[in-house]
């Protein structure tokens, strides 16, 4: 083994240029892999984090659009009934016993927090123009526990909302469109035509356009007044779990407890998750292509080396090296190329990632972002080096096996 190592070393060092070229192939492959994975997973994590901070792990609501059994089926259950264009029943999205349900859910040890809310579409009046948006009635302190609102406040304090009866905290995007700031008053109109003047006590920024540009928070009682509903009128319960990946398992349990639809975040954000999967597929397919190209480079160079070293292989075999020993010599060479090449690739990948993370990038209204988010997770560096070494091992195996099978007599006889 030691002898094979020293022969392999001598082979590699006697042709430094060729060795370097082979290594560079791997280096580029791995370097690009690291940079791409860093950027892609960085973007994924960033958007996931944003989504997670603004949406609950489990969302319980009254799904009034769901199909209900038709009257015809109740009257004639055994017949074949076709009802086209079933009209929805007049039904409020109210959750009955919402506060009791919330209490039950809060007692579950897997739950970090649960907040009852009610929301409605509203128009924000700006002179003659009406901007479409939503208003969420929340217990602001409870909501803060779930979404860490305090850290997202751009002006005002969340306690100010608690203290006022007609205050709202408005998304920065919406405030900018309305040209209002903290302390200003804004007139809202509900779809039912109720109009009310509210005072802006603060602004927040989640970082996602779909939230910042349309949403305001108000106290539950304020929204109940706007909607002209009673004190028990709650339309949604937002739940945060200790482990968000359990949402899919826990949601059906809550659905059974509450009797209302409980939607986990993966279902709610399925389009976003599809995007993540597609980005991952892209990253890996490009990286694998790069590595396969590098692998072919190594295959070629080793093949050439072995062709040039046929005499040496024959003499080694005559002197008592078995096929396995010869294979070892060339496998060591390809693994050394793979390992050093990958290691250099990790370094280059790191610097590339670093450069990308410093590149200015304007996320526009949609995402508040000024630099590319890059992931420096060591996991991907480990994957990179394992990947690189594995590719070179495969690429080196075939020529090495050929060398081990070489018949020394043919060469020695000339």
């Amino acid at each position: 083994m030691k002898l094979a190592l020293s022969i392999a070393k001598t082979h590699l060092l006697s042709k430094p240029k060729q060795t370097l070229v082979a290594m560079l192939g791997v280096t580029f492959g791995i370097g690009m892999f690291i940079a791409m994975v860093g950027l892609m997973t960085g973007l994924n994590n960033f958007t996931e984090e944003l989504t997670m901070t603004s949406s609950p792990d489990i969302h319980i609501y009254n799904d009034i659009t769901k199909e209900r059994p038709t009257l015809l089926e109740q009257v004639n259950p055994s017949g074949m009934n076709v009802v086209l264009h079933q009209k929805p029943k007049k039904e409020t999205p109210k959750l009955r016993n919402a506060l009791q349900i919330t209490e039950v859910i809060r007692k579950d040890p897997r739950v970090l927090g649960a907040a009852p809310t009610l929301g409605s579409q509203v128009f924000y009046n700006y002179g003659p123009i009406q901007l479409n948006g939503t208003i969420s009635g929340v217990d602001i302190l409870e909501e803060n526990k779930l979404f860490d609102l305090r850290s997202k406040m751009k002006s005002g304090r969340i306690e100010d909302l608690k203290a006022s009866t007609d205050g709202i905290i408005m998304g920065t995007g919406l405030a900018r469109k309305l040209h209002v700031k903290t302390g200003d008053r804004v007139v809202i109109t509900t779809p039912e035509g109720y109009t009310m003047t509210l005072k802006i006590v603060g602004t927040f920024q989640m970082g996602i356009g779909t939230v910042d540009n349309i949403r305001s928070y108000a106290n539950i009682s304020t929204v109940q007044i706007i909607l002209q509903q009673d004190q028990s009128y709650i339309t949604d319960i937002n739940v945060k779990l200790n482990d968000l990946h359990q949402a899919k398992v826990i949601a059906p349990e809550f659905q059974a407890i509450s009797g209302y639809r409980a939607e986990d975040w993966e279902t709610a954000n399925s389009t976003f998750l599809t995007g993540v999967i597609i980005r991952n597929i892209l990253t890996y397919s490009v990286s694998i292509t790069l590595l396969v190209v590098a692998g072919f480079g190594i295959y070629n160079i080793l093949n050439m080396t072995i062709y040039n070293k046929m005499k040496d292989i024959a003499i080694l075999k005559a002197m008592g090296f078995s096929g396995k020993d010869v294979k070892q010599i060339f496998m060591i060479q390809s693994l050394v190329i793979g390992f050093i090449g990958s290691l250099a690739g990790l370094v280059i990948g790191y610097f590339l990632s670093y450069a990308i993370s410093k590149a200015p990038f304007n996320g526009g209204d949609f995402i508040s972002l000024d630099h590319f988010p890059v992931n420096f997770d060591p996991k991907y560096y480990i994957i990179g080096i394992v990947f690189g070494v594995a590719t070179t091992a495969v690429a080196g195996y075939m020529p090495s096996r050929k060398a081990s099978k070489l018949d020394p007599i043919e060469i020695l006889r000339g």
């Binding site: 030691k2 002898l3 022969i7 001598t10 082979h11 060092l13 006697s14 005499k311 040496d312 024959a314 003499i315 080694l316 075999k317 005559a318 002197m319 008592g320 090296f321 078995s322 096929g323 396995k324 020993d325 020394p408 007599i409 020695l412 006889r413 000339g414």
Partner: protein
């Protein structure tokens, strides 16, 4: 007299381009310390016989025994190990590993055998080089040496593990007369002083005539086997 190599009815065929019997029931016995030349016209099968005797060619019928060990039917790996310990090679075209120094080349078979540690192997290799007058070139890259020098290093490599037999395939075939004589003298000394056994395939009439025993082959058969007048002057 101790026999170091013995064959029994060795027969071999070539199948390409058509079936052809290249060795016909060869019976050969070689004594320890014998300097044997294998001669014959091109195509008579002498090289083929040597590669069978050297255990590298296993595609034959009959039996081969070296140092009392029956080698017919052993696996390639077993034979490789056996060659490493018991057989040394000297080829026409030296076949040193060009990237290594002279002493490294000599050391490789001994490091492979791993009977001695690195330091001991180095000392032994140096000793062998000294025996062949190559000690001053020990640290030179082998591709920087002349043909004669390379062949002497190759001989040192062939004897590093104190093999039972040294096999030579035209060991002087590529050398000028001065170096041929040098190599011959080394062989002579190895056999007579160190009781080394040598089997050499050669075209060199002078070389053959001066060895202990000449085995002549023709059409795959041994046609004559005679001791020369120079045989064993020390023993007669």
């Amino acid at each position: 007299m101790e026999q170091v190599l013995r064959t029994h009815k060795i027969t071999k065929y070539f199948y390409d381009p058509e079936k052809f019997q290249v060795l016909k029931e060869i019976d050969l016995a070689v004594n320890r310390g014998e300097f044997l030349s294998l001669v014959g016209k091109s195509g008579c099968g002498k090289s083929t016989l040597m590669y069978v005797l050297s255990t590298m060619d296993t595609d034959y019928e009959g039996e081969l025994e070296i140092s009392g060990e029956r080698l017919t039917g052993k696996t390639q790996n077993e034979l490789a190990k056996f060659r490493n310990e018991h057989i040394g090679f000297v080829f026409q075209f030296h076949y040193l590993l060009p990237e290594f120094t002279a002493i490294q080349n000599v050391m490789i078979p001994a490091l492979k055998l791993a009977k001695y540690n690195y330091k001991e192997v180095e000392d032994r290799a140096y000793e062998k080089l000294k025996m062949l007058g190559m000690q001053d070139f020990a640290l030179k890259r082998s591709n920087k040496l002349s043909g004669g020098q390379q062949q002497r290093v190759a001989i040192a490599r062939g004897i590093i593990n104190d093999p039972d037999i040294i096999m030579g395939d035209e060991p002087t075939g590529n050398l000028d007369s001065y170096n041929s004589q040098l190599v011959f003298d080394i062989f002579r000394e190895l056999t007579h002083t160190y009781r080394q056994t040598i089997i050499a395939v050669t075209h060199d009439v002078e070389f053959a005539r001066n060895s202990d025993r000449v085995v002549e082959m023709s059409d795959g058969k041994i046609v004559s086997s005679s001791s020369t007048q120079l045989a064993k002057p020390a023993l007669t």
